[in-house]
C-alpha cells in the first residue's frame, strides 16, 4: 500500500527537529494530510515497493562503533553515538574547493560523532565533531554503490595554546579514517548487492512508514530509500 508522507521541519528544509505524518492509501486511491506550521515542508508519495534503510540504526552496532573508535586511537574520545544527516552538496564544508564535483541538488549523507580531547592545565579541553560525507549512487547496472566523498572536523576549546597539537592529531587521524568508513560502507552495501534499483532518495529521520504522527530529528538520522 503506498504512503503519502508529509514532513514539517521546524528549523529549515531537511534540518533539525521535524514532524512527519504517514497516510497509507490504496493503489489508485487518494490521500490527504492537513495541518502543521513550520519553516519548511516536504511531501513525498512513497510507493509500496520502497525499501527504506535507517542509517543511524544500522551504524550504531558494537562492531561499527569499535571500528570508529580505532580511528581516534588515543588522541580523542568519542562522546556520542554515530549520527547521520542528509545534506545538500552546497552545505558540505569543502564545497568551495570544487563546487562542480556534484550537482547542487545532490544530497550526501553526513555521518558524524562528537569527540572530546583532554589538554594540559593551561588549555581548555576541546569538544567537537568529526564528520565523513558519503555519496551514494546507482551504477549503470542499478546496483547501490557509495564512497566516502570527504571529511571535516570542528571543535571548540583547545585555547590558548593547544590547537596546534589538536589539529596535528586530527589532521592525521580523520583523513586516514576514510578507509575505515569505506570498509563499513562496503560491508553495508554488500547486503544489497543482489538487488537492482531504479531510484534513490533520502528521507529525513528513520524513514518510518508507521501510520500517523512521529517526531524525529533530521540532524541526527536519515534514511536511504530505494525503488526497484
Amino acid at each position: 500500500m503506498p504512503t503519502l508522507s508529509q514532513y514539517w521541519f521546524q528549523n529549515g528544509f531537511f534540518q533539525g527537529p521535524f514532524d512527519v505524518w504517514n497516510q497509507p492509501y490504496p493503489d489508485g486511491g487518494w490521500a490527504w494530510i492537513s495541518g502543521g506550521s513550520c519553516a519548511a515542508t516536504l511531501a513525498w508519495n512513497r510507493p509500496d515497493s520502497e525499501q527504506a534503510i535507517d542509517v543511524a540504526s544500522e551504524l550504531n552496532t558494537p562492531g561499527t562503533l569499535s571500528q570508529i573508535d580505532n580511528i581516534l586511537g588515543n588522541s580523542a574520545n568519542r562522546t556520542s553515538g554515530l549520527m547521520a544527516a542528509g545534506v545538500f552538496w552546497p552545505n558540505v564544508p569543502y564545497y568551495s574547493q570544487n563546487p562542480g564535483a556534484h550537482n547542487n541538488s545532490d544530497m550526501l549523507i553526513r555521518v558524524y560523532f562528537n569527540f572530546h580531547i583532554g589538554t594540559p592545565w593551561y588549555c581548555s579541553d576541546a569538544n567537537g565533531d568529526i564528520d565523513y560525507y558519503i555519496f551514494l549512487y546507482l551504477d549503470g547496472s542499478g546496483h547501490l554503490q557509495g564512497y566516502v566523498d570527504g571529511w571535516s572536523y570542528h571543535y571548540d576549546g583547545g585555547g590558548p595554546f593547544c590547537t596546534g597539537s589538536i589539529n596535528d592529531a586530527l589532521n592525521a587521524g580523520v583523513p586516514a579514517g576514510m578507509s575505515t568508513v569505506q570498509t563499513i560502507l562496503d560491508q553495508a552495501l554488500a547486503l544489497l548487492s543482489g538487488s537492482t534499483f531504479s531510484t534513490l532518495y533520502y528521507l529525513p529521520g528513520s524513514g518510518t512508514k508507521a501510520p500517523g504522527d512521529t517526531s524525529e530529528n533530521a540532524d541526527t538520522d536519515v534514511a536511504i530509500a530505494v525503488l526497484p
Binding site: G12, A39, A40, G86, F88, P90, N91, V92, P93, Y94, Q97, N98, A101, H102, N103, N104, S105, D106, M107, P120, W121, Y122, G128, F135, Y137, L138, D139, G140, G142, Q145, Y147, V148, D149, G150, W151, S152, Y153, H154, Y155, D156, G158, P160, F161, C162, T163, G164, S165, I166, N167, D168, L170, V174, M178, F197, S198, T199, L200, Y201, Y202, I224
Partner: protein, 100 residues
C-alpha cells in the same frame, strides 16, 4: 621551528628550581610549561594561527561516468530554500529506469 630559545629557558628554569618541566610540540608550535610551588609558567611559540576546523575532499573517488542515479531532489534550488520567507515549490516525475 627554532627551539634553542626553549633550551635556554629550560636551563634557566632548572636553575630557578622549577619542576614538572614539560614540552609539547606540534607542526607549527611548541609549548613549555613548568611550576614551582604555586607558581606556574607557560612559554608558547607558534608561526601561524591554527583554526579549529578543517575539511577536504577525498581524491580517490569513482569517475562520474559510473554514476547513473544520485540521491537528489530534482529541481531543488538550495539558494531558495535558504530564503525562509519566500514560498516556492517544485514537482515532477521520478526518473525512469533506462531501457536495456
Amino acid at each position: 621551528m627554532n627551539t634553542k630559545l626553549f633550551e635556554r629557558v629550560e636551563a634557566i628554569l632548572k636553575e630557578e628550581h622549577f619542576t614538572h618541566i614539560t614540552k609539547y610540540s606540534s607542526t607549527h608550535s611548541a609549548t613549555l610549561s613548568a611550576d614551582k610551588g604555586a607558581e606556574r609558567l607557560v612559554l608558547h611559540v607558534t608561526d601561524r594561527d591554527e583554526m579549529p576546523q578543517q575539511a577536504a575532499a577525498n581524491q580517490d573517488v569513482p569517475a562520474a561516468s559510473e554514476i547513473r542515479v544520485s540521491a537528489t531532489l530534482p529541481g531543488f534550488r538550495p539558494e531558495l530554500a535558504a530564503q525562509g520567507a519566500q514560498r516556492f515549490g517544485q514537482g515532477g516525475a521520478l526518473r525512469k529506469p533506462r531501457r536495456k
